[in-house]
């Protein structure tokens, strides 16, 4: 495997690069063997006649809650501070709203910090190179964090790599569904302030590379549907219903990855995640944003952790020393001009996704076709059972905000 640091954002030593590739390899190895077909590879350099594809990307806003409780409620839940981040920001994109007090003393949103960085990469660096991870965190946060903030201990160099991984998991990364970390008592989500008050990197286990690889290889099959003796390409309903994973159809990322890969495979291609493996924010059209009737100042839109076209971090909003706040920015959509009050609106203007490489491969053999039954019905994404958690969350949100005014100041936002 040839993967460099995501976004080429960091220089890696040979050893660290090897460790990162081992991390990716473990995520692949942990998948069910039956899912692995020759149509997906972790070796983009080995593809025949390779080309890049930009066809696997999706809107960054959480899709599932919008299906379940509508866009207005989805926006409220998604912008609900750390609670919202951990409950519904499941599209390989997490954000925090950083607030500040205005001249009247009111708490108002100042900026949105968006990250698409994998926790596995940060955990890998934290495990093997504490100085490096501290430098990375300093670059993101603007100030150098203490060892205690990063690891919960005064000197991580005194720990073994395994102990550092656990310590970093507690403080900053959570367990990411890694069995070893769960057994070691690492919680699902971190408890340290660095990645709770700020968006340092993604922490939800669903936003990890193991899930990305799973939905990728799930789609990398020669599925088809036999329809009146003709073989046709399976639809999303066919594929997700056949394997009883209809929940995968009900967000933005999963169906786009699975069916995007499947579409390529069906047309005879082999697919790999491009080097570097990462989750990238596409360049948005900033013309839809304005401040005082003019284009946003350049320093209000700060991309980092990557290169043009492959950034993994965006800080959006006026700098701390500017008198304006996030909700002084106007977002013009259609005939509406609305204040930008949080991250949900912003994420709807962003596209997220990995970079993909596509190569030629041998034709699909007869015995490689996996014939599926056509779906009996369209998948209903507002179905009661799968939406229960979102609906319960909305009940909680409404009870906590009962009687409050409309949230010009953001609920639960960090200061």
């Amino acid at each position: 495997m040839p993967y460099d640091a995501p976004g080429h954002a960091d220089e890696l030593s040979d050893e660290l690069r090897e460790r990162w590739n081992e991390t990716i390899g473990r995520a692949f190895a942990a998948q069910n063997e039956a899912l692995k077909k020759r149509f997906f590879t972790l070796d983009p350099d080995g593809l025949r006649e390779p080309r890049s594809s930009d066809a696997i990307k999706w809107p960054g806003d959480p899709g599932k809650p919008a299906y379940c409780v509508g866009e207005d409620n989805a926006r409220a839940l998604s912008d609900w501070g750390l609670t919202g981040r951990r409950a519904v920001q499941l599209e390989y994109c997490e954000y925090m709203i950083v607030s500040a007090r205005d001249a009247t003393g009111a708490l108002r949103p100042k900026r949105v910090e968006i990250t698409t960085e994998f926790r596995e990469f940060w955990a890998c660096v934290a495990m093997h190179d504490p100085d490096k991870v501290r430098a990375m965190a300093a670059g993101v946060l603007g100030t150098e964090p203490t060892w205690e903030e990063l690891y919960g201990v005064g000197d991580p160099r005194a720990l073994t790599p395994e102990e550092r991984e656990i310590a970093f998991g507690h403080a900053c990364a959570g367990h990411g569904n890694d069995r070893r970390l769960r057994v070691a008592g690492v919680p699902a989500q971190p408890t340290g302030r660095l990645n709770m008050e700020r968006a340092l990197f993604m922490t939800h286990p669903i936003n990890g590379i193991d899930d990305l690889i799973y939905v990728g290889i799930f789609g990398a099959h020669a599925y088809c549907v036999s329809d009146r003796d003709l073989r046709r390409q399976a639809s999303g309903d066919d594929v997700f219903s056949a394997f009883k994973v209809t929940h995968l159809a009900c967000n933005h990322a999963d169906p786009t990855i699975s069916l995007g890969v499947y579409d390529l495979v069906y047309h005879g291609k082999q697919v790999a995640f491009a080097n570097p493996l990462g989750m990238y924010i596409r360049e948005p059209n900033l013309e839809v944003f304005s401040y005082a009737g003019k284009a946003l100042p350049a320093d209000w839109v700060r991309f980092s952790r990557g290169k043009p076209g492959s950034y993994m971090r965006l800080e959006f909003g006026p700098p701390d020393d500017h008198e304006a706040f996030l909700d002084d920015i106007t977002l013009s959509l259609g005939a509406a001009d609305q204040p930008l009050t949080g991250g949900y609106q912003l994420l709807r203007e962003l596209e997220i996704g990995p970079l993909v490489r596509v190569g030629e491969t041998d034709p699909i053999a007869e015995d490689e076709w996996e014939v599926l039954e056509p779906a009996a019905a369209t998948i209903a994404c507002d179905e009661a059972e799968s939406c229960q958690a979102v609906r319960d969350l909305l009940v909680r949100f409404e009870s906590e905000h009962a009687g409050r005014k409309a949230p010009r100041t953001m609920p639960g936002a960090a200061t």
């Binding site: 999706w58 259609g334 609305q338």
Partner: protein, 441 residues
């Protein structure tokens, strides 16, 4: 059972009629939803008569309408849901953020922030935003023209003015499958199996009454043919993303800087618009050449699957060309009645405004290098309308939104009277199996 209205030609092999009309109906001040519904119900009945060859002023005369294959589609605009007595809330897709901006009263103005499309300088008001629109499509121009005139008659004959025909736009399809810029058009419309998932509002929404409906988006786009013809063929092809003669999608620039299409396109012995090319060539492939990626067809389709997902930004297009007199050179205005259907207008608006898509672009291609492209299209009218589903028992689509109660289902058929005693059957023909002979027709 809710279903899409007629006039959306998405089924395989279902080709739209050659002629198009889009009529806009304004509700008079003070008129409430029930009165508007009554007027619409009368109009709808008149349209059904027209389709069957009946004109109200020619009682008893049957016109030869069967070859017209007329379809009539009714759309509800934002203003329809402002009427007093409206029974249902404005659908989400008619929220302000999914509508076009108004024209500047001084003329021109952006159609959308973030889009390179603007109203023409001589447009001071957008005439395509009324309470209702009616799309008429037919094989003959007369059938469409007649619908316009008969609409006026029906409204003029009403005692109190309830609805007024404020404007209409006409268009026609070309039998050469090309548009006024001489390129093939409409080739990369959706794969047929994807269409309904893109067009129809599906389950999984809290607006159950809208399921099975859709949204129609309309833009009357004038083309600056003078500027277009100043471009070389190569620059035109790079703007469109297709070979001008063959219609084949471009895949790259050659070493000589000339755009190249797939050498296997079109399928031997066919033309690009024929079905043999649908699979391999009608939809442009994903390309890496930046000059080709900047073209119109590449900006409008990023090949994202599934098409049914909002993020794919796929739409179903059904446009018609127009030509009309205009002051000043060249003495006419040529353009496109852009029409698309989608389950949410957000698909189209995001396609038109998002970075890397058509955001900031007027048409596509290198608009910095060729300013003609940055003003190629100008808007003479634009609107978004909800197209309610056809529901059993409604006198016209969307009637329930205006407070009209559903008609009771028809009573069950009465039991048939006992049959007359049949005459004794003829002797069956001799049959080796002893079965009866086939009945006579």
């Amino acid at each position: 059972m809710a279903a899409l209205q007629e006039g959306i030609y998405h089924a395989p092999g279902n080709r739209p009629g050659r002629h198009f009309g889009l009529l806009f109906l304004r509700v008079a001040d003070g008129v409430d939803a029930p009165r508007a519904a009554a007027a619409l119900g009368d109009l709808w009945a008149m349209y059904q008569g027209l389709k069957a060859g009946r004109v109200r002023d020619l009682d008893g005369v049957e016109l030869p309408a069967d070859k017209d294959e007329t379809t009539v589609l009714l759309g509800f605009g934002r203003n329809a849901f402002k009427l007093a007595g409206t029974a249902l809330a404005r659908p989400r897709g008619l929220a302000d953020e999914y509508l076009f901006r108004s024209a500047d009263p001084d003329g021109g103005g952006p159609l959308l922030r973030g889009s390179g499309l603007s109203y023409a300088p001589d447009v001071h008001a957008n005439m395509a935003t009324e309470a209702f629109c009616v799309q008429v499509i037919a094989e003959s121009k007369l059938a469409v023209d007649r619908a316009v005139v008969e609409t006026w008659k029906a409204l003029a004959d009403a005692g109190d003015p309830v609805l007024a025909l404020t404007t209409f736009y006409l268009g026609n399809q070309r039998n050469d499958h090309r548009s006024w810029i001489d390129f093939y058009d409409g080739l990369s419309n959706l794969r047929s199996e994807d269409r309904e998932g893109v067009i129809a509002i599906g389950p999984g929404t809290d607006e159950g009454w809208a399921v099975g409906g859709t949204y129609i988006a309309f833009m009357r786009l004038a083309i600056d043919l003078v500027g277009w013809r100043r471009l070389s063929r190569t620059d035109q092809e790079l703007a469109v993303g297709r070979d001008k003669r063959s219609g084949c999608p471009l895949v790259e620039l050659g070493e000589d800087g000339a755009p190249r299409a797939d050498p296997g396109c079109p399928v031997a012995g066919t033309q690009i618009f024929e079905s043999a090319n649908d699979g391999p060539f009608a939809e442009p492939p994903e390309v890496s050449d930046l000059a080709v990626r900047a073209s119109h067809v590449q900006r409008a389709n990023h090949h994202i699957r599934p098409a049914s997902d909002f993020g794919s930004r796929r739409i179903f297009r059904q446009g018609y060309e127009f030509l009309e007199w205009a002051e000043g050179p060249p003495g006419f205005r040529a353009g496109l009645n852009f029409v698309s259907f989608q389950d949410t207008p957000g698909r189209l608006l995001k396609m038109m405004t998002a970075g890397g898509w058509l955001g900031g672009a007027n048409f596509g291609g290198d608009e910095d290098k060729h300013p003609e492209l940055a003003s190629l299209l100008s808007v003479y009218g634009a609107g978004i309308y909800f197209v309610p589903p056809v529901v059993d028992g409604e006198p016209f689509p969307g009637a329930a939104a205006l407070g009209v109660a559903l008609a009771s289902p028809p009573p069950p058929e009465p039991a048939p009277p006992p049959p007359e005693p049949a005459p004794p059957p003829p002797e069956p023909a001799a049959s080796p199996t002893g079965g009866a002979a086939a009945p006579q027709e």
